[in-house]
Symmetry: D2
Subunit: 308 residues, 4 copies
Amino acid sequence: MPVTYTTSQIAELLESVSNWGRWGKEDQRGALNYITNEKRAAAARLVQSGGTVSLSLPLATRAARDNPTPVTHLMIRSGQVGHPLGSWGCADYFAIEPHGLATTHLDALCHHFYRGKMYNDFDYTEVDFQGAHKCAIDVARDGVISRGVLIDIPKIRKTEWVEPGEAIYPEDLEAAERDHRVQVGEGDVMLLRTGRFKLRRSKGAQATLTSMAGLHASCLKWLHERKIAVLGSDAISDVLPTPYDAPLRMPIHTGTLVMMGVHLIDNADLDLLAEKCARDGRYAFMFTLLPLVLERGTASPANPVALF
Amino acid sequence: MPVTYTTSQIAELLESVSNWGRWGKEDQRGALNYITNEKRAAAARLVQSGGTVSLSLPLATRAARDNPTPVTHLMIRSGQVGHPLGSWGCADYFAIEPHGLATTHLDALCHHFYRGKMYNDFDYTEVDFQGAHKCAIDVARDGVISRGVLIDIPKIRKTEWVEPGEAIYPEDLEAAERDHRVQVGEGDVMLLRTGRFKLRRSKGAQATLTSMAGLHASCLKWLHERKIAVLGSDAISDVLPTPYDAPLRMPIHTGTLVMMGVHLIDNADLDLLAEKCARDGRYAFMFTLLPLVLERGTASPANPVALF
Amino acid sequence: MPVTYTTSQIAELLESVSNWGRWGKEDQRGALNYITNEKRAAAARLVQSGGTVSLSLPLATRAARDNPTPVTHLMIRSGQVGHPLGSWGCADYFAIEPHGLATTHLDALCHHFYRGKMYNDFDYTEVDFQGAHKCAIDVARDGVISRGVLIDIPKIRKTEWVEPGEAIYPEDLEAAERDHRVQVGEGDVMLLRTGRFKLRRSKGAQATLTSMAGLHASCLKWLHERKIAVLGSDAISDVLPTPYDAPLRMPIHTGTLVMMGVHLIDNADLDLLAEKCARDGRYAFMFTLLPLVLERGTASPANPVALF
Amino acid sequence: MPVTYTTSQIAELLESVSNWGRWGKEDQRGALNYITNEKRAAAARLVQSGGTVSLSLPLATRAARDNPTPVTHLMIRSGQVGHPLGSWGCADYFAIEPHGLATTHLDALCHHFYRGKMYNDFDYTEVDFQGAHKCAIDVARDGVISRGVLIDIPKIRKTEWVEPGEAIYPEDLEAAERDHRVQVGEGDVMLLRTGRFKLRRSKGAQATLTSMAGLHASCLKWLHERKIAVLGSDAISDVLPTPYDAPLRMPIHTGTLVMMGVHLIDNADLDLLAEKCARDGRYAFMFTLLPLVLERGTASPANPVALF
């Protein structure tokens, strides 16, 4: 069911998935509100073997086609014997721009605007040189702990990866649910695998932003109905390019961050997770992501972990 | 039982708590090895209500007496309407030195040396301008997920905080166990509350490094026998000052990081956790800390979370 | 002649020293236009002995009362024998916030606004997250090379330093001219010594911003009539505190940067220069400051040098 | 006269151009000692018109083939009306790795080692995690002010640029001297133009480090006999590749920085200077470079200026 919406259709679609006001007009947490204490307790009850899988890329300190602003990692001191500062140990420093395509990170709801607004009708001017005064990353300081569900698209398409530029449709999501014998539901962290890192490991970094695999805009209604709490991907959730001009160019970003209040995880490495899920025949697990408490921050680098 | 060891006694003590070789001569994970799959699964079974408490300070962007190198947090762009880059959202940048006394962080085993060695006999020269080639923070990339146990010293001493410079002894730990009806055991993350942040909130930042509350060296044997996996504190675990000259000046750092291979969590904010534990009458919980995957890094800023 | 202006008097004063439009409505260089080729050639003709004095503080890498955001200076590599990257040499990295009270720097004209405007009626919105699109530091990319004149106030007041909070008046400037046998004129770089670093060397860093020695607002007319090109100081040119509320709180900054288009040099170390001038009986010299070419930058750290 | 030296010949050549001990065994300034007061005074006497040319590239904030670690330039605040911090002005921040191929900079003598030594027999261990304890960039804090001489190789070869990988020989230098009617002499700053930036402007950034135009090793004796103080280039002075293995891979770097104590200026933009010199028929001028006073620094970004 590939469709190209008109500009006004996509604007309507975005309106139709709005959660503005659902949790009060002062709410800054959005769909994180779906993760109740009960949901977390139930997630913990999923744990059986105690096995873990990290979903984080290493912080990338070298420039690459998909990493124009690499992490700076430098040593402050180390243990030269007799060195006045360094004799006892070592310490380091790093500088990071967490957004982009090279760092596994959680986008704050303030990261994206639509018609001058962020989630829940907060104005774009709430972000200034001091950072975000609304919907910053520290709204998630207590952690994103819930049920995680992997949706492995290459598996159901019987391919190694979804080609850059190819869209993923609601039918794919439902096919995956049937295949994986799981159903995405309220408060879940849905993790969408496109196979981007399998491709990168095989063929190197691809042209990015201009062409990435991801969800077609028609998935927005599906995500909204399922009441997911957080959406993650090994890419950036949106398929690119889209036929829409800015500010509709990334309808998934707009629909999730701005309209639904759904936080996004970008650039999660889902390859080991997919192997583990296939091996265990099990696509739901306890999911944990603990963002750094960066007040007024627009994102946090993160090391999400799945616990089985 | 306050004691002052002689220099040779303390050297002997350090030798006596060594775990070098216990998990093989190539091991770089140290006491994290105590956290088995079974231990993690058991930790998950502790979860009842699903309530969470973050143990992280906010990243501190202002200089203070205990923060000479504050985090730099700057905006890269934001959404001025019509701005070529910024019309659609915002992004930021931060630079951090995770060690010190202002950031909640997990010390890598490479952070501390003793007689030119780090944990498991690795040489200090394994740390160079590229970072740590052994025992870096990414050995914990799958996360520190285990049973957490709070030891609340001010509670058992019936005081608001332990005064800077005052030592905590094995008797205190055991008194706390009795009071808290919990026993620290193999694979646990032990969190030691001195009340430092209660003091800071009451009286401002104190002179640090020269004077902090923490464990007396005589606790090392206790920690070793209990086979804890990780030690955390709202200070830096060591009492300061000690009567010992470098390199024995911080025997808890040396005994845990270097000899036992026990990772340390420094500057965790344990005040809300203490309230929660007292209110619930329960001092054990599921503990999660997910360090950033900084290869060759000497620490990671972290947001540890307790789940009840 | 200490005077306290009313708010409207000071607003009038600021208007009266305006150079807006003097060099065309597109001009971004302001009073640097006074430094003609002839002026530079004449400055070079002042050189006799070839002796030099640097007017720069070292870049300050440690936090202090007057340095809350120290320069970060870290090594990238160095020459450990056998090290794959470092065997042949060394390299480093630094991060700097050039403004403030600890770094010798040249303020760009964009640094200060008055009633929403910078020099020559450019709007404050010309500065955004990308930096300054008008009046950035790179307008001085060909260097500030002119006659420099030292005005040594402690010398004429027969004191070691001007006390923090004390104002300097036009009479002082003229007394210094008589004493120094020099007259400040068109295109000159006027360097005002308050003795701040003599004080700092004697008594440590003082409370700053709340109390600094500097020019009284009544000097603005004098500076305007003399047609100086650049004003420098060992402090920040303005006396502080002033009795005026923002945005009139720093009338010298407003009058020079915004109204006259006079660039400011802050935190120049003028102590050695003062000794040299007194010893040689000569207060005019060839002055050179070569700012880094930071397009859209609001300042450059600098090492101004006087050549005799 | 293209020649390929044997390894032992080039080692001999390097020994033959040594200035170690020439200015005493504690000297850290090397050939800067050739710039006497008289030399500076004579340089000032070269000034006629007062015209200036900057030799600095803009600080490059975007990654490129020849710029893997771009300068980070971010705003700290700006003038949003009513903003508590920003109403009065703007300020910024930058982070820089001055070495490499994208920033005009002055190499400190400590930047390069040969057989474990830097200039004047100082050991490589003088550089540690704190930076360079000998031969750091601040030895030039009083500025590099001398006669500058441009050697424009494309002009004498009647080409637009010297192709990457092509060597420049003593004969070229002498042909240029004849053409330019100038002779390089004691204390001069010699600026070697290869036309690299003309090439870059025409054809984009080239593969670098593997292939750059520069001086053949046989020029070392010539440079030594002429007693230049500083060598600058629009590339990095060395031709690359050379047939020599490390540590002889960059004989000009080794011969100048380590053996002669000649500071190097890398990546100077000499295109406008070449036009000016050709137009005026004059290849000598007053040269000024004022490095930032970064104690223990291995280089300084710089804006060298020629004054005519």
